[in-house]
Symmetry: C2
Subunit: 516 residues, 2 copies
Amino acid sequence: MANVAVAVVAGAAGAIAGRAMSKGEGGRGDDEDVDFAPDGRANANHVAAAKKSRYLAQEYPSVDERDVKTPDDWVKRHPNLIRLTGKHPFNVEASLPELIDYGFISPVNLHIVRNHGAVPKLSWETHSIDVCGNVPKPYAIGMDELSKMPADTFPCLIVCAGNRRKEQNLIKQSVGFSWGPCAVGNTYWTGVPLRVLLNRAGVYKPGPGARYVCLSGPQKELPRDYPDQDGGPGSYGTSIDMETALDPTCDVIVAYEQNGARLHPDHGFPVRVVIPGYIGGRMIKFLTEIKVTDRESNNFYHFNDNRVLPPPVDAERATEEGWWFKPEFIINQLNINGAIAYPAPEEIIPKSKKTYEFRGYAYSGGGRKVIRAELSFDQGLSWQLADINVREQPRWADFGSGDKARHWCWCHWSMEVPVEKLLDPKCVEVCFRAVDQSMNKMDERPTWNVMGMLNNPWYRIRVHRAPNGDARVEHPCIAGPTPGGWMQKMAAERPTGELLWGWGGEGTPAAPPAEA
Amino acid sequence: MANVAVAVVAGAAGAIAGRAMSKGEGGRGDDEDVDFAPDGRANANHVAAAKKSRYLAQEYPSVDERDVKTPDDWVKRHPNLIRLTGKHPFNVEASLPELIDYGFISPVNLHIVRNHGAVPKLSWETHSIDVCGNVPKPYAIGMDELSKMPADTFPCLIVCAGNRRKEQNLIKQSVGFSWGPCAVGNTYWTGVPLRVLLNRAGVYKPGPGARYVCLSGPQKELPRDYPDQDGGPGSYGTSIDMETALDPTCDVIVAYEQNGARLHPDHGFPVRVVIPGYIGGRMIKFLTEIKVTDRESNNFYHFNDNRVLPPPVDAERATEEGWWFKPEFIINQLNINGAIAYPAPEEIIPKSKKTYEFRGYAYSGGGRKVIRAELSFDQGLSWQLADINVREQPRWADFGSGDKARHWCWCHWSMEVPVEKLLDPKCVEVCFRAVDQSMNKMDERPTWNVMGMLNNPWYRIRVHRAPNGDARVEHPCIAGPTPGGWMQKMAAERPTGELLWGWGGEGTPAAPPAEA
């Protein structure tokens, strides 16, 4: 493990996160966790790989004391998870360096959790999914039956659309809570393709009455009551279009295993939806209803969440002027994004070291491959290519290449950087950006939006020189309640709380002089 | 037509560009050229619409005097086309304001042309396409037979990957010639789906030996001789992967009509490939060979063209270090891009006017919809939404909506701007950017690359106040040999010819102060 002893994120990392204790701690997981052969074709046995990853699915042995006296006092959670919304509901991310250390496949108990209310107490034996709406043959299906149907297994990244929102909230508060840069998890998922379940109900193609598939969790999951909505009162729901639901290459599955084991309660036990390349907010947990309709889901959260409205539109204006219901602003696919994991926040890089290995992750949406991960040591004037460690066998391209190959996972990247470069006083920051196969790049600046979603500006860490000559790095902010970071400092200096220009600077390099 | 009388681009615009002379000149075409009903479903009869657009397919009546004594002395071309590579070979774009004035569907004779050599003199009666390679049933097919097969018709934008390259060449010369912002054309295309032709040869799915489809034009089209390549000596060729070729929703067609008429020689007569959402460089004209292979095309241009290499890689390094052959850097899909058409370069906006209508276009690749077109009057500090005039019935979503709808065309946008705003001395420039449905945005800055391709920074026009108080706008540069534009001025001031920072400014708003 890199030099995180002095870093904020260190501490008790790695205790029980699914890593078999006998495997020892502190190593980098990439090469030891999963047997990836250099030839991609040999990696395609995802079922076997998922089984091998079962040690990454283990539950923490006991209930955290913070969950006692909450409705979740029965859910066993890893204590290292960073709680973002107090004790309850449970919304957490891992420390990014810790998660990265586990390698390509994440441990289930360090995987992002986004809960809207108490975790529903559901049972494998009694839970069932209602396949209903405008279908010729409605039916209900229980877990035993579902898990005997033809299933598919593959690794897939899940990302909350609010990943990196803390940065946006330091510019101006959005309506969402502050995610750090680790609202992610990359695990194996096993489930029945949604199209197979729809076929069984007699739906084989889109048509009048069958344009959307509404997906809902159980009633009373959420405290707020919207009685006439899809899913019923207190249900969290959304919809996807029928074309996506039925397209085999979209890989939408109704999943009941993660890393080869039944789902953890926080991840939707006994069954959830996984929609690769989409934002996590559409992947309904505790799936209860699959309803075919002629119109989008009328669930409250389908319209009032998971949208990127244009920057000038704040919450009040959005509601007054009906922006939540404008179809252009729904978000489905992830956009290109990434972050630097090492050096960790506040990490010291000793001047005695010759080189330091920068490491991080990147991903894009819609199955698009990340083709470049780059660092700049001169604020974007020039960029150097990092190594991308592709450990994914892409789907739907028989030979793993080609424009239509679907990349559903993150990639890790690394670059060995001469420490000399970081000790140079001219090096004030290191910027990271990624580029995907459609030449979409991470933005130079943040674009604030009312929900603070899909925030993907360059990930910038500032470099300071300590009195003894070592280098110290400062991230934009630190996940969770921990104070620190250069954006937070900047926000504190601006009591108006508005840093719309994004990074606190004034003017622009492109600005021609204003006329006198 | 807006106030272009004083603009560089005015002049003889509109003479014979397919607009029936009796229709009069100078009007905006949007509402009169094509009968688009407000209800998208009614617009789906593309065959009828293409027939109605036949007046936009007419050939110019005579050969331009500049083409006399060239190998193309038989090809009739519109004199308004801006010639970018001298007389020959013929590489042209229209004036952007002129093309925009024609509306959603472009006249064939103002459509971008990218020729690599003399236009091959081919005949409808004798031309045939060889369907060969690793196929069970190879065959050759002539034009009469091809045009009797089941065909599809739809509107589709064609864009050269070098669109807006002149801006990049002002930063530092790339290996490509200088396209202005109008290397585009949006017309109806009619042809036989490539998958139908492959099926006829017995190819129904990718498999060993059948991973790629190599597409080639005729031998001796190009002056340079690469004897062992696909297509043979002097052929321009490329390949696409079999998944794309066979996927109905990718809409790859072998096209023999444009706007309802047989192809113009410059556009590939008698037959070419159209691959919607892709860069134009893969859409082989004068199609002669469809060859199924186990590996990508070995045509010289497949590897040595149509790549975006990382910025530090120049031509010499690319060749020395083998960058042309690294699979990550091939480009296929277009990226999000757009430009301002009105006000035109050097246009004067009189202080006496109350408002001025800004207009332009935007597009993205891979079928992704443009969801936002925005102008900033304060260099990106804030953005205002323009109206997007969607005139396209998207493909492959039965009801014209949903995440999988394929948008193969450009959109036009407009915004009525108070002239007062432009007269304010604080308004030094107007910036345009677009955003697509996957939240990909045009970049703030250009990223120079050795081929100067997929250049998509904000389109910025500078605003000056004339001595009489009118406003005058200055584009980054002017298409063709015409001098002018703020980027060109900036380049002239920097005799090193390197403006890698892109816009000539120093530092960045994000730059923390360097340590003393």
